[in-house]
């Protein structure tokens, strides 16, 4: 018997929007002008929040904060493709996802200021609290998708995580189950090249992260994560596929964490300024601006207006966050269980 090839790996990389702002019309997703403006404004809002959060942390007004600078297209572009009834499972660096789905800005600040009430999603949004334990939320998305299918709800489930998360056991266990049960899921990896100080090359020996999906029996695609149209298109197509019963998709967004890992980190200790400069030049927001300018839907005045709108929304949210009454110590007991036990009731009296 001869040896035969019994499996091959094929991974495609999608890019739509080039550095000069031109697009591949054949691949360009059908987005109305208003949608494109809205995406741009959400990316501006994300960046404005991000800059403010870092500044507030420096002033001691926020706790440790993980910046999203440079990842706005990957975050906004993927979240923009979702429907309001879909279920979202973000990691901790998913500001653009939260803002795109309409998570109250004040609450996002509140969470990073150390107030757990920021994690209480409004009833209209099916978004989970941000997940700090890397990758451990991936199986939750699988469970939600199982439940949605059991209920015959026409919803899809999306989970976001970083390149570091792909080394975790829960990535494997979640992906494996998603494939076995052919669930309506979209997994979105923000491959920002670093997991704190660990570069991608030390995280995996695989040529791409996307190809890992193939081993679980579903497609993985790589997209230019700084190309908001490519991210949107890949997510949109994957969601369509999920909703029509054709199972999960893994989308690897190639992007870059331009800022430090968090406000407590100094990335200068482990990576070169040259590398950061190369990626900074691929700025997703500027790329979108170039496209919009070519198309005649962007001007300095419009950009200024978008920034002003974002700034006043952020200003108002910061004021609201700082006006919130501090949590009551007895609040620690409120949600441990639906009803406290004997011992907790006594402890609460002393709180």
């Amino acid at each position: 018997m001869p040896e035969e090839i019994c499996a091959t790996v094929e991974v495609r990389r999608l890019s739509v929007l080039a550095a000069d702002g031109s697009v591949d019309e054949a691949l360009m997703p059908p987005l109305a002008e208003g949608d494109i403006r809205r995406m741009y404004e959400l990316m501006v809002l994300t960046r404005t929040f991000d800059q403010r959060a870092v500044a507030l942390q420096r002033e001691g007004r926020l706790g440790t904060y993980p910046p999203s600078l440079g990842q706005e297209a990957a975050q906004v572009g993927s979240a923009f493709a979702l429907q309001p009834e879909d279920w979202l499972f973000p990691s901790f660096r998913e500001l653009g996802v939260q803002l795109t789905c309409g998570y109250p800005i004040q609450q996002i600040f509140q969470y990073w200021s150390g107030d757990e009430r920021g994690q209480q999603a409004p009833p209209s949004l099916n978004i989970f609290p941000v997940c700090v334990s890397v990758g451990t939320h991936i199986p939750h998305a699988v469970g939600a998708a199982l439940a949605a299918r059991y209920r015959r709800d026409p919803v899809a489930v999306a989970a976001w995580f970083g390149d570091g998360a792909t080394s975790k056991g829960d990535f494997h266990e979640g992906f494996n189950m998603a494939g076995v049960f052919r669930l309506p899921l979209v997994f979105i990896c923000q491959n920002n090249q670093w997991a704190i100080s660990v570069p991608l090359s030390s995280q995996t020996a695989a040529a791409t992260l996307a190809q890992k999906a193939l081993a679980y029996g579903f497609p993985g695609v790589q997209v230019d994560g700084n190309d908001v149209f490519a991210v949107y298109r890949a997510t949109h197509d994957a969601l369509l596929k999920a909703r029509s019963g054709d199972g999960p998709t893994f989308i690897e967004c190639l992007t870059y964490r331009v800022a430090d890992h968090t406000t407590s980190d100094d990335a200068g200790r482990y990576r070169s300024a040259e590398e950061v400069a190369v990626w900074s030049a691929r700025d997703p927001l500027q790329r979108l601006e170039k496209y919009m300018e070519r198309r005649g839907i962007w001007s300095e005045a419009y950009a200024r207006e978008a920034r002003q709108l974002a700034t006043s929304a952020i200003d108002a949210a910061v004021v609201a966050m700082e006006a919130v009454v501090a949590p009551d110590p007895a609040d620690m007991f409120t949600h441990t269980w639906a009803a406290p036990g004997q011992r907790q009731m006594r402890q609460r009296k002393g709180a």
Binding site: Q119, A121, A147, E173, M177, V180, W337
Partner: protein, 320 residues
Amino acid sequence: MAQLTMVQAINQALAEEMARDERIVLLGEDVGRDGGVFRVTEGLQERFGSERVIDTPLSESGIVGAAIGMAAYGLRPVAEIQFLGFIYAALDQLYTHAARLRTRSRGRYTCPLVVRTPYGGGIKAPELHEESSEALLCHLPGIKVVVPSGPCSAKGLLLAAMRDPDPVIFLEPTRLYRMFREEVPDGDVTIPLGRARIARPGQDVTLVAWGSMLERVLKTDSPHSLEVIDPQTLTPFDWETLLTSVKKTGRLVIVHEAVKTGGLGAEIAATVAEEAILHLRGPVLRVTAPDVVLPLPRLIDSYLPTGQQIRTAIDEIMRY
């Protein structure tokens, strides 16, 4: 009403609750076609279909993690971990998420799931099939830990666990699975969580034991009047019942098959010291496994607390 073993009683509880509440979905390794390695879920997939009794890949963290997502979505998953000794990979999901989801989301999401798992020694099984690491699970606010001690309590407690709004780990003492039968009533016989049961009223010594050790304590003959308490729920523990008994008898012996150091007995002894020390006539005694790695079956009888050790502890405390 029928004479049932614990395995049958658990099966009945699952079947009745699945019929009553379509949110109940079972998942785990070999729970469907095979009916579980102990046959606890026998016949349920045939009856309720493979969407409600889901055979999963071999994936402990995935099973519990998926159950968390299902629970948050609005189902009431009942996950099986095939043996307690294999739950460790899922402890991350239990500690990091199941226990915390209600708190982290300030009540927006809840986690009404049950993790059923066989536990405990004395069944001549291979390595890691006889563990009793319940104290690990009790050190975890946000999770409830329940241990039945016979067919009736298994049914009643499991029904309550499946209706509880919070995550419950349901530890099934394998040694008792088929050891004896009890009259188990059909239908709703829930036993509320968080309440202990006085398994035998008495005057001289309070003994507290759960799961398969309760059976051993009840079989121990003694000339003294023993009050035997079956906590049933280990977290949240019913301190009132225990303290009332200890204040009456003035003597306490704790029996558990887990190792001594950091075991639940330590918490019980400390609480009694804090809240009832002036009622005690003598020291609180613990009869436990030694602080060693759980041996294979050839030595398990030297590891698990014996009737003789329990009798000796009772005699010793009666000297006070």
